[in-house]
């Protein structure tokens, strides 16, 4: 009952105070899909500084990271978009500390990382309700039909949160943009390489279309 009242209030208040509202743009996706690499690319392009560290070992981002007051400008320079960027830990259904051992970590560090990673997944899910718009970042070299991807996107749709699918790592030979598009035909998909900045400008234009 309370949540319904809150929603009705928000609906009215958002119109009156829309100019002051900070848009939260979330980066969601499975581990190692390049969320933080993309966050760094966005921050570098518009703020001139990076956001977080990246690694080939999964679950490098284990806490929610926020960069506030980023202003995005459209290609023609006529539109501006002010938002807070929220980088989230990768969502997974399993975490095995032995995988971190195989990556060369000590047992103590591997166990600590696994414990932090589980908390990170929980935090990322809790933050779903806070988002205004979400970029779902997928590794375009991997199977897009994984249940984690479907669950994230399904939950965002149920919450009426606008979604843009970012098929990342398009610089790699195995990248398959068409497969990602075929898996989620009802959503806009942009193929990019966050690492090399390829097609990132297209992504920005699509963000403008998404947040009207």
């Amino acid at each position: 009952m309370l949540s319904v009242l809150k929603k009705i209030l928000n609906l009215f208040l958002s119109d009156w105070f829309s100019a002051k509202k900070d848009i939260k743009l979330g980066l969601y996706g499975p581990p190692n899909s390049g969320k933080t690499t993309l966050a760094n690319r966005i921050c570098k392009d518009w703020l001139g500084e990076e956001m977080g560290s990246t690694s080939n070992v999964p679950h490098e981002t284990r806490e929610i990271q926020i960069k506030e007051q980023i202003t995005l400008k459209s290609k023609d320079g006529r539109k501006e978009l002010l938002f807070n960027l929220v980088d989230t830990p990768g969502i997974a259904t399993k975490i095995d500390y032995e995988d971190f051992l195989k990556a060369g970590m000590t047992e103590k560090k591997a166990k600590k990382r696994a414990k932090e990673a589980t908390k990170g997944v929980i935090e990322a899910i809790k933050w779903l309700d806070e988002m205004d718009t979400v970029l779902v970042v997928l590794d375009s070299t991997k199977d897009p039909y994984s249940q984690v991807n479907i669950t994230i996107i399904g939950n965002l749709a149920a919450r009426d949160i606008p979604v843009l699918i970012v098929a990342n790592k398009s610089d790699l030979k195995k990248a398959n943009l068409k497969k990602v598009q075929a898996a989620f035909p009802q959503y806009p998909v942009v193929g990019i390489s966050a690492k090399y900045g390829r097609k990132v400008k297209d992504l920005y234009e699509n963000v403008f279309k998404l947040i009207k």
């Binding site: 259904t93 399993k94 095995d96 589980t118 997944v121 199977d143 669950t151």
Partner: protein
Amino acid sequence: MVTLQFMPYTEIEALSSLGRIRKLLNIAKKNKIVLLQGRLKKDEETELIKATMEEINKEFKGIELAVINPKQEDIGGLNKLKNDFVEMLLGDRSGMTIIGPANVVKSIKKDPNKIELLTKERKKKRKK
């Protein structure tokens, strides 16, 4: 040996969301693969992931999850309305949900039309 446990939707129908998640997770923690008739609600799926993360320890590494769903896009007009109404009243009984413990199931590969479940090979203990 891999154990598969089939669960008709009626077994979870009367349970609360938390009850459903606990029931499914408890079976997976016993190293059994659950084949659930139908599917959980979308928010229950995320709650299942959250609950799984809370339970991870040295023995339990998490789950592999997959939902097979018949193509809903092909159903049009009145039939879709009918399906949505039945789903609202009785829950989503179409398709199947597979929940396997990560200790047993290595991965589940899903294509729109088929599903492949890859299990882990158990390490043989040498007799001294």
